[in-house]
Symmetry: C2
Subunit: 266 residues, 2 copies
């Protein structure tokens, strides 16, 4: 296959922007943004992160709850078009590109067009949520497995169902489930998960206005009812028990012992 010269030197980088805070970007991602000719970024990426691409054309293609978004096929076409005009193209995605980022569709489209593609991993929201509340997602003698799932992508053909994956793991992080907390709780209870299983919903992970609500699986619908419509992660599992107990012992006005900004008991 004969490639045109610009194709030989052009690379599209699928870059993870991390969970939200601009300083949770990797050094590699920061350097690529600084070198980029053009950047296509998701709406949820922090403006300071996008601003690192100071010499680039910056194009928002974001999907954001309740706002117009660019269809995936149009993003794929825009990346391919950009590769014929630019040398360093960055596709900047929230979190890690390979976790609920629809990266495969972009990788496949670029490969089909003969365009070189590299992926730069990032900190996914579940890891930042664990860091924020000071709870390790795995723990000796308590949790040797952690599952990341989404109940809302609308896949009917997945090999297994998301709720079974949650029940089979010691710890779970549910992405994009806050708006369906009642359905999530019902599905997990129906599969035999204990109603007293500790649950934390962390909104705006790593942002200054982050917030965590603590409770149990049985109380998850109440947590969901207080959801602010910000991006949120639901953590479920026995690893959360001690901090839930600690939180319940606190007088309401006491300063929170955890790192999260606003903590609401349920």
């Amino acid at each position: 296959m004969i490639r045109s010269p610009h194709r030989m030197t052009t690379t599209v980088y699928l870059v993870g922007a991390g969970p939200g805070a601009p300083d949770l970007l990797t050094l590699r991602a920061a350097r690529l943004l600084e070198a980029a000719d053009i950047v296509f970024y998701d709406a949820l990426v922090h403006p300071e992160t996008v601003a690192l691409a100071s010499r680039a054309v910056r194009i928002p293609v974001g999907k954001r709850h309740g706002r117009p978004s660019t269809p995936q096929a149009a993003i794929n076409r825009a990346l391919i078009r950009a590769a014929s005009r630019h040398r360093t193209i960055v596709r900047l995605k929230g979190g890690d590109p390979m976790i609920f980022g629809r990266a495969q569709e972009e990788i496949d489209a670029l490969h089909a067009a003969g365009i070189r593609c590299e992926v730069v991993p990032g900190v996914t929201a579940a890891l930042a949520a664990g860091a924020e509340i000071g709870v390790s997602l795995t723990r000796r003698a308590v949790s040797r497995s952690v599952t990341f799932v989404t109940p809302s992508v609308g896949d009917r053909e997945a090999r297994t169902d998301w709720a079974s994956a949650v029940v089979a793991a010691d710890t779970a992080a549910i992405y994009m489930g806050a708006g369906e907390a009642e359905r999530v709780a019902a599905a997990l209870l129906a599969r035999g998960m204990a109603p007293a299983t500790p649950v934390v919903m962390v909104e705006n992970v790593s942002h200054p206005d982050r917030a965590a609500q603590w409770g149990t699986l049985a109380g998850l619908p109440r947590l969901g009812a207080r959801w602010s419509h910000a991006p949120a992660i639901i953590l479920i599992g026995q690893v959360l028990q001690e901090t839930l107990d600690e939180f319940r012992r606190l007088p309401a006005a006491a300063p929170a012992p955890l790192q999260a900004g606003r903590l609401v008991p349920v």
Copy 2:
């Protein structure tokens, strides 16, 4: 509770160093290392990352396959002792501290001693492995769940067993399992996972000498037999099917179409 003045300003930072490559560190981690008075680091952390802590006392406490390591209780004591003498203490761990990093033991010991502790998340190895081989761990209509497990921590009391968590998820990443590939394969086959399920073993993720071996669950013991004893991640799941097919179609001498350094078919 009355705290001594140094305790009020002292913080121990549990910091994720990322999967290996020094530029997969976060900006926050880099700044903390530059500001650190003392750093306790795992053996697997890249020397260039440790060197960022140019003004700090640097103490290796690493656990590494086949080499002497510092017992966890001794690390906990060293962190508490350091908090009485230093202001900015960094505990630098490979990957993300909250995924198979034994972070909870250190957090609990620090809290019990009344010492402030913050966690800085990092890129965990499974995400870097997905980036390396260009395969998204989740995918519409194929995978809406991804599980990280370890079969070798020696926990007998975990709520569920690791193999069930793998079988229930669409995609799995097995940490610290390369040396037990035969046992891993047997456990998953015994739970009904299809022998033809695609498998990739990625060693030295994100390092220049990284290597990926491709095969199926039935062939996993053969992959394990070729394991170099470097840190390795085993990825399992249908999301790997297309790249496995693509790889099998290649003539042996063709350049690898993926990012990984050395690719070995099995």
